[in-house]
């Protein structure tokens, strides 16, 4: 187990390093001189040069990378070129927002998706299965942004039940916060609920046809225990893995959702930063998302190992 | 004496920590059928794979028709592959599901450029007939055949180049009794007609008893006893062979219930960490101190053709001689 975790951690570090190089180079490959952006309408060559020097944009790439890595590791993420605020401060403001959004969406996705998946698998071929499967297909087939638009049109503009968009910190106005998060959460969560539902359903179906489930039935266990203990426990490993893998998609989904509902989170920050060539922010944002992804998948691996006695007890893992 | 078709000398194969084969030697003469028996995981298949260089031996030598092939490059090995072929256990996974029967059987012919595609058809048809399949099967896909028929296709593929040696890894274990009987008959017939040598791997004693000229018994990566079939069945020398024979089910209620069985305690130890000394000592009813430390060599007490690897099998201490407190039963 320790060996397993160590190996996974090693792999994670490699992924992070590769990722950081990619981020660094990718950002610099973007056309559009950030100095020019900062200089804006009134750009004069002298001003542009001054800005370029200020942000070290005139030095050779490897030097910039090493500097970037050094600064990042020491926790200094620089200042946003857009508004001069320290990137760390911006991240600290934005991260909780996206965390809340993704966490709530995840909550919706997991509750709805896993429950529906289980029900669909258990009631395979019956009405409940068709409803759940239909929901799953719809969730896969309807684009996020479309759903978001329709939701705003219906609930905010036409019915005026919910605020159209925006964000209030939970600490300031819990009710307002939840009101505003409701639609984005549902819009974002539903797509993932669909994916999870499908995965849970198929994992449960294969678990339900496994020999050990037949054994559980042969013991005379009530169906509740057969499904809820024996089949579910083994499907969970699949579901947990899928959850981790879906995280990347969830972040992408958050970008779109935040864009539509004007939520000042990470996704919106990312797009804005790219559009304004805000190098320090792009780098930090992508680094944080990649790190989050890698760390969460590491956690998923560890949870997986705990769920799976084979790995927990031996550490022998292939693939 | 003729050069044996296959000679294996102190073959060792470790898969990482797993000591699958651990110092094994054997030879197969021309036209001889050697039955390699042993329990699951004892390393039988690994031996077969090493012979065909499907896996690289850790050490030891493999000599095919007098030529040391252990370290031949894949390219240099290629011409030699004409003479050695393999039949697999699982009739489902051993045929490429995307190839027609004709393609499957003609592959070796084309690969070794024995003939061109057009001529190959006839040869394939003839071969299929030989293994008892109608030629109209040629265009079928494997999954359209029954298990017995598939195994016949596997035989046809192995034999179409008229090899000198066939390694058959449990070719009938997955088949029902009635199908198994016809495939076994087929193998004996073909072997007699074509005269190839055969390394026949199985865990079923009654099959080798029926088919093999000689038998080698494996336990945890080593041969513990080998000898001519009749002799070995009549007088097994190693306690493990004795236990194995006594445990084999006999389809005769009277005999089955009367005979005294040696029931071995415990399980086969893990090849990850085989016991020191004699590998069988953990389950051996006759084990004594020396067995726990010294690994016995294969020796024939009568200097014959029937050696066993047991401390109790020595010219002085013959296995059937009474050892105080211990008796061998059979």
């Amino acid at each position: 187990m320790t060996w397993f975790i160590l190996r996974r951690c090693g792999a994670a570090v490699i992924v992070l390093l590769l990722g950081s190089v990619l981020i660094f180079l990718g950002v610099r490959a973007l056309p559009g001189d950030p100095a020019l952006v900062m200089a804006g309408e009134d750009a004069s060559p002298a001003l542009v040069a001054a800005i370029r020097e200020e942000y070290g944009l005139d030095r050779p790439l490897p030097v910039q990378y090493v500097e970037y890595l050094r600064q990042t590791l020491s926790g200094n993420l620089g200042r946003s070129t857009q508004d001069q605020l320290p990137v760390a401060t911006i991240l600290a403001e934005r991260l909780p927002v996206t965390l809340e959004l993704t966490a709530l969406a995840m909550l919706v996705a997991v509750t709805v998706g896993v429950l529906a998946g289980i029900v669909a698998a258990v009631r395979r071929g019956r009405a409940a299965d068709y409803v759940a499967t239909g929901f799953g297909l719809a969730g896969l087939s309807i684009p996020h942004f479309w759903l978001g638009l329709l939701a705003i049109l219906l609930f905010s503009v036409t019915l005026r039940w919910l605020p159209a968009s925006g964000y209030v910190p939970f600490t300031e106005d819990p009710v307002g916060n939840l009101q505003r998060m409701l639609l984005p959460t549902l819009v974002l969560g539903m797509g993932f609920a669909a994916v999870l539902m499908r995965q849970t359903r198929s994992a449960m179906l294969s678990a339900l046809s496994a020999d050990y489930v037949r054994t559980a039935r042969s013991k005379g266990l009530p169906e509740r225990a057969v499904v809820g203990v024996h089949a579910l426990r083994n499907s969970l490993t699949t579901v947990v893995t899928v959850l981790g893998l879906q995280l990347g998609a969830l972040i992408s989904g958050a970008v779109v959702t935040e864009q539509i509902f004007v939520i000042p989170g990470f996704g919106k920050l990312t797009v804005d930063a790219v559009l304004t060539r805000n190098y320090p922010v792009i780098q930090a944002v992508v680094l944080v998302t990649v790190t989050a992804y890698v760390v969460i998948n590491l956690l998923v691996d560890i949870v997986y190992a705990f769920l799976n006695p084979r790995i927990r007890l031996s550490g022998a893992s292939h693939g | 004496m003729n050069e044996p078709v296959l000679r294996i000398d102190s073959l060792v194969k470790h898969y990482g920590q797993v000591r699958a084969v651990d110092g094994l030697s054997l030879t197969i003469g021309q036209g001889e059928v050697l039955g390699l028996v042993g329990e699951s995981g004892s390393g039988k298949s690994t031996v077969g794979k090493c012979v065909l260089r499907l896996t690289e031996p850790t050490s030891g030598t493999i000599t095919l028709g007098g030529r040391d092939v252990t370290h031949l490059s894949r390219r240099a090995m290629r011409p030699l592959r004409r003479d050695v072929h393999m039949v697999f256990q699982d009739p489902y996974s051993s045929l490429n599901p995307r190839f027609s029967i004709e393609q499957i059987v003609s592959e070796p012919l084309l690969r070794h450029k024995v003939m061109r595609r057009r001529e190959a058809g006839e040869r394939v048809a003839a071969m299929l007939e030989k293994v008892g399949l109608r030629t109209e099967m040629m265009s079928r896909l494997p999954h359209e055949l029954s298990g017995g028929q598939r195994q016949r296709v596997g035989l046809a593929r192995a034999l179409v180049l008229e090899p000198k040696l066939v390694v058959a890894d449990e070719p009938v274990s997955a088949l029902d009794v009635s199908v198994q009987a016809s495939v076994l008959n087929l193998i004996t017939d073909l072997q007699r007609d074509m005269g190839f040598s055969c390394l026949f791997i199985t865990h079923d004693l009654s099959v080798v008893e029926f088919l093999a000229d000689r038998i080698a018994v494996m336990y945890l990566g080593k041969i513990v006893e080998t000898g001519p079939t009749a002799e070995l069945f009549a007088g097994p020398r190693h306690p493990y062979t004795q236990a194995l024979l006594s445990a084999a089910p006999v389809p005769d209620p009277a005999r089955a219930r009367e005979r005294r069985r040696i029931v071995l305690g415990g399980d086969v130890p893990s090849p990850l960490d085989p016991p020191a000394g004699c590998r069988f000592h953990t389950r051996c009813p006759l084990a004594f101190d020396a067995c726990r430390t010294v690994d016995p060599a294969l020796t024939d007490p009568r200097d014959g053709d029937h050696p066993a690897a047991c401390h109790l099998v020595t010219p002085e201490r013959r296995p059937d001689a009474a050892v105080p407190g211990r008796t061998l039963e059979y």
Binding site: M38, A39, D42, A43, D83, L85, Q259, V262, P264 | -
Partner: protein, 517 residues
């Protein structure tokens, strides 16, 4: 006001914000939707229009404009006093004013700010104040600017960010990061900012005219998407929506709870045609190898093919003002002689034919990738197709279009200019040789000279005449094909009154508030 044959398109009736004199009650938080995230709130470095929208309620300037776009003193006590040679400007300051941190605003503070604007290497105001060589204080309440040459546009610059005065105390403590926590003289003071999301201002207790200020708080919310901005306005989440997209104006207007007021008109939008920018707008110009770049006749044909009124109607619901010159029709600096050539397809075809260039003539049009500009590009595409051009639209992000424009890496390019009160701000940098925003690479002494002379002249009529010369020359050269002056539409909840909305498009909330029920 504009040529093209047709009568000017009448925009839907928009109430005049300045005419709204309903009484308002004290207190309340006003939520205002901005269309973009302001850059650093540092008057020295700021470059965005939205930034100015925030500044206007937080950082007062030496001068300001009024509803008629006339320059008026704000922190200054009077209009500047010019020495006879025009090289010395004396500005008398109001007294007894305090910055929002309680510091006294005096001549020293003004000098400190102006010097920072002028000489800090990161300042974007350097060009604005380029003529100023020295700032001295004369007593507590007067500053004197020494100029290298007479510069009439200077007062207009001092009515914008270059005239914003920052608290010296805050400048000392914040340094280069002043923008993260700005302190000025203003009806509201900076409270907080969440990057990309909102800027919060609070009523400033130290403001000299505090009695006029009714609102407790202004929350600027950044809502980039125009539809979401409109939706927020309709749902009541914000009470003021800035820069409504023309597509959303009608919808907002139709809402019984909302009204729309218009402002702006100083800025313009059009097509850059690269005629000489080969290595960058500030570098030496050369000859461009493209059909349009080489042939003034083809450029003329291209322009004649465009039906500006149809463009205004189709793309902007008729809410902008079609025009073919950089100065708005009602500008006192615009000479009556400036007349647009009418839309004329036949003539355009003729010109194309005469040019001998085989049709269709390929033209690449680089366009910012927002919906409105793409719509415009497609209309241009269709209109010019008729006379023999094959326009290929290439969208790029806004940032990339700016860079391509500056570097001369384009064939034709859609850009706009937000507009300045003084005509100089709309011309010098843009159509004179070496101007950093001279994307087309236009270079002609008949343009450069009159503009230079006009900057030194003080008489409006004289300046107008000089500008007319330059503008007419530029129009003939057709490095930039002007299409329209864009107006700003401010959506407001009917409960909001007292908002001032002028030509500069910056909603002023000093006197704004919620109407008493």
């Amino acid at each position: 006001a504009c040529g093209g044959g047709g009568a000017p398109t009448s925009a839907p009736s928009v109430a005049d914000a300045t005419a709204d004199n309903r009484t308002v009650q004290s207190g309340g938080t006003l939520a205002v939707a901005l269309n973009a995230d302001p850059d650093a709130l540092d008057p020295s470095t700021a470059t965005t229009l939205v930034g100015r929208e925030v500044f206007v309620n937080m950082c007062e300037k030496l001068y300001d404009i009024d509803a008629t776009s006339t320059l008026v003193p704000q922190l200054a006590a009077a209009m500047p006093q010019l020495s006879p040679d025009g090289k010395e400007v004396t500005i008398k300051l109001r007294t007894g004013l305090k910055f929002n941190d309680g510091t006294v605003m005096d001549a020293a503070a003004v000098k400190k700010s102006l010097d920072r604007h002028r000489s800090w290497e990161k300042s974007a105001r350097q060009a604005d104040l380029a003529a100023v060589t020295d700032v001295t204080t004369v007593g507590e309440d007067t500053v004197k600017l020494t100029l290298s040459r007479p510069a009439t546009p200077l007062t207009a610059q001092l009515a914008d960010r270059a005239g914003m005065i920052m608290s010296p105390k805050a400048l000392d403590s914040e340094g280069d990061a002043f923008g993260a926590n700005p302190v000025c003289v203003g009806p509201f003071k900076f409270a907080s900012r969440t990057s990309g999301s909102e800027v919060v201002l609070e009523r400033a207790p130290d403001y000299y005219d505090a009695a006029k200020v009714k609102l407790d708080k202004i929350v600027y919310k950044i809502i980039v998407d125009p539809n979401v901005r409109a939706a927020n306005l309709r749902s009541g989440d914000v009470q003021v929506g800035d820069q409504l997209a023309t597509t959303t104006v009608a919808g907002v207007q139709a809402d019984p709870n909302l009204k729309v007021v218009s402002g702006g008109g100083l800025g313009y939008f059009g097509i850059n045609v690269n005629i000489g920018n080969v290595a960058g707008s500030t570098e030496k110009y050369g000859s461009v190898d493209s059909a349009l770049g080489k042939s003034p006749e083809l450029r003329e044909a291209f322009e004649l093919a465009l039906d500006r009124d149809a463009i205004n109607k189709t793309v902007y619901n008729g809410l902008y003002e079609s025009d073919c010159f950089p100065l708005p029709a009602d500008s006192p600096y615009r000479a009556a002689s400036l007349q647009c050539a009418p839309h004329d397809v036949a003539k355009a075809k003729q010109l194309v034919q005469a040019s001998g260039v085989p049709t269709p003539i390929p033209v690449t049009l680089t366009t910012p990738n927002d919906a409105t500009n793409q719509r415009l590009a497609q209309v241009i595409q269709q209109m010019t197709k008729e006379v023999g051009f094959d326009v290929k639209v290439e969208t790029a992000e806004f940032v990339a279009t700016l860079e391509q424009g500056g570097a001369g890496k384009y064939d034709t390019l859609l850009t706009g200019w937000s507009g300045r009160v003084d005509p100089d701000g709309n011309l010098t940098n843009i159509i004179t040789t070496g101007g950093s925003n001279n994307y087309p690479g236009m270079s002609d002494p008949d343009i450069d000279e009159p503009i230079k002379q006009a900057a030194a002249a003080t008489d409006t009529a004289e300046r107008a005449e000089l500008y007319a010369k330059a503008i007419q020359k530029a129009a003939d050269l057709r490095g930039f094909i002007y299409l329209y002056h864009n107006k700003y539409y401010l959506g407001m909840n009917k409960t909001v009154a007292g908002v001032q909305y002028f030509k500069d498009g910056l909603p002023r909330f000093t006197t704004a508030g919620f109407t008493a029920k």
